[in-house]
Symmetry: C2
């Protein structure tokens, strides 16, 4: 046995993180030994807290420290524009861009008959109850352009039809900064389909 | 504030690790949210334990779960061959090669007049007491080839002279697998100096 037991256990824990292999886990564990007692205690406590002190927002499904997430609590956000996302991690990506002033709705998954994930398994009922009595809502569906993403997009579009809300999806197209030599054909096709008139 | 407080704190902790920047810390913290409650508790406990349950071996200064490290406790290791290292992390590098059957002595630093580190600040007295009554000991000094490393090597060589022990240092030379085009001149010079007769 190369490492003493307590170190071995710490290496195992680090190795459970994505993208951290054996070598990196060893490096991180050895580096942790140089932490102060206080920093280690804080680290340990925040690991515990990240699960126990975080819950899901009862309105949108995003992670939150309270009953409602900070976005749903924010009165400056437009409550009638709802961006529909697969995962709460996507919320952070949108928030970083800083330009979106609406709210979110986190599905927590995508419809996938192959994996036995039906509309009942994802947070669609919550969405319906948000828009039911608000016909001036706009839904922006921002799901990834995969089979599951498009299935879910079409399903939502169909099921909300009767509530007379506006529904859009994100534009497909060329990512900013991309080189045409490396663009795949599907993206180019989509960019052609979604082309925008210059006026 | 982009992240809820508990998540923010976890990101801060991850960011204290070497080589983990803001982006990576965010990725690791979000990934931690997917851990099971049990895995998180284990991770937190092992962070606490890595400091509180590990001590220094009273013989060699390596990290140990008991009073003596597993190497000093191992009767199959040659107690009269002592490899002198700067840091306990170096022990793991040697152990991984798997060919060395002697023991170690961890200095915990190198002599550096500029940084005010004198021979009294590193674990040299412990080394003296190990060799004092064992003239058939061989010391292998394995310190890095820097000014501090060579100063410490020369100091140890001089101070152990009267105990009549054998003293060697690691060979300097070309690392296995290296390409001559990328070797620095100092390494090539050292490899020339340390050349070995073929017989």
């Amino acid at each position: 046995m190369l490492y003493p037991k307590p170190l071995e256990k710490l290496i195992d824990s680090y190795q459970k993180l994505p993208g951290i292999g054996e070598k990196s886990a060893e490096r991180l564990a050895l580096a942790s030994l140089n932490f102060s007692q206080e920093d280690l205690a804080n680290f340990a406590q925040s690991l515990i807290d990240c699960k126990s002190k975080l819950t899901r927002c009862i309105t949108c499904g995003h992670i939150a420290a309270d009953e409602k997430c900070s976005i749903c609590q924010d009165d400056t956000r437009k409550k009638n524009i709802i961006c529909i996302l697969e995962d709460f991690k996507n919320v952070f990506a949108f928030e970083k861009s800083g330009n979106y002033k609406g709210c979110y709705h986190v599905l927590g998954g995508l419809i996938s008959p192959i994996d036995n994930i039906t509309p009942d398994d994802i947070n669609i009922n919550g969405l319906i109850s948000r828009i039911k009595n608000n016909p001036d809502t706009e839904l922006i569906i921002a799901l990834k352009p995969s089979v599951e993403g498009e299935t879910t997009t079409l399903y939502i579009k169909k099921i909300v039809e009767k509530y007379k809300v506006k529904v859009s999806r994100l534009a497909y197209g060329i990512p900013v900064g991309a080189d045409f030599d490396y663009l795949d054909e599907v993206t180019l096709d989509r960019a052609l389909d979604d082309r925008k008139m210059l006026d």
